[in-house]
Subunit: 220 residues, 2 copies
């Protein structure tokens, strides 16, 4: 059976640089499927018109035409179930990236904003410890961080973009129901929600609905 992938090329036929086509090529290799690629250019819409749309990758697998890298991955997973799963066997391993993102990006963006509010809410016996460690970490006084707060709110909103996109695609980070990946990200945003004197998210924000759905799942 012939298997053809239309693959974006530069002027040089051999330069195949599309990130989405690379996904498809690796997915085919992962499924241990042989294939040929055909170089394609952005303006060659007529060449792939048979696929019903105008972008690559387009896979022609015998009788089947599939476009869009995500569509191709899902097609290969279904059509070749006896080969290694494209989505892996280890959800715990995939949770690691979400943990790294939460701690490296989300915690940092939140901390920059809410450390002064945390300070204000601490037990008096904790304040000296917290001031010393956080002022050292940020290289700024609690008061300087508070004065500069508004300048850092846009960075938090930008950091939340991948979470917003994920929650457009599915109800929870782990899929149809919450799991530890949700707990990790929820923990960060609950920290912000409980501590910040100024709400960080609007009440009708889809992220707030997701947080409430996580709590509701567990009756909390």
């Amino acid at each position: 059976m012939s298997r053809i992938l239309y693959d974006l090329a530069g002027e040089d036929d051999a330069l195949r640089f599309s990130p989405y086509c690379w996904r498809a090529k690796l997915a085919l290799a992962h499924k241990n499927l042989s294939f040929e690629t055909l170089p394609w250019r952005f303006t060659e819409k007529d060449v792939i018109a048979f696929s019903g749309q105008g972008k690559v990758p387009v896979l022609v697998d015998g009788e089947n035409t599939v476009s869009d890298s995500q569509g191709i991955a899902e097609y290969l997973e279904t059509a070749y179930p006896n080969e290694a799963s494209l989505f892996g066997e280890a959800p715990a391993a995939l949770t690691q990236f979400i943990k790294s993102w939460t701690e490296d990006v989300l915690h940092r963006a939140l901390a920059r904003i809410i450390v002064p509010d945390v300070f204000a809410r601490l037990h008096p016996k904790d304040k000296a410890y917290f001031r010393e460690t956080r002022e050292k970490a940020f290289g700024a006084t609690i008061e300087a961080l508070a004065a500069d707060r508004a300048a850092h709110v846009p960075a938090l909103q930008a950091a939340l973009t991948p979470l917003r996109s994920t929650l457009k695609a599915q109800p929870f980070i782990a899929g149809a129901a919450p799991a530890y990946a949700d707990h990790i990200v929820f923990g960060a945003l609950q920290w912000g929600r409980l501590v910040s004197y100024t709400p960080l998210l609007a009440e009708d924000d889809p992220i707030v609905h997701w947080m409430d759905a996580v709590l509701g799942t567990y009756g909390l």
Copy 2:
């Protein structure tokens, strides 16, 4: 059996704001395990000295003492295997967040840097199409993007932080072997590697080693 979680509190005993303690509370709820919490403050190191370290969450589950939210999650997953998995049953769903992050963060950071290099490498018949669509998307000419390139390299390096952290914890994003989550992120960085006239990553960068390991897995 008693189950106690030491839980960071503010001055108000009821204010429990630690993101790591929230992870532990949700993980316990996910496993359908009842527990009590005890308010704890940063400076009460002596209270949790029995755990062998100085931070919360600390879980005392009957005879077992476990600290660190990740340690607690892994302990609960092992100790209560008959309850719902903390790490979920659907690796495909967890891959969605990695896809969202790749497209919302990594592709944007890369594109801001390499669009002029892509333009230079395109087939002549594609250049007008590419210039029009990309200049509209960025609100700047190809030449202006090129002149401003160096200013955007630090943002790419910052964006890569969660990937670096993940690859310190495990060899691939999907764990011990690559899967589609790796393919998605690889696609983005391979795009940069093939197109950029100036290398974006040093040859000895752990991300480059991971990219080569992905290709090597498939004999590519």
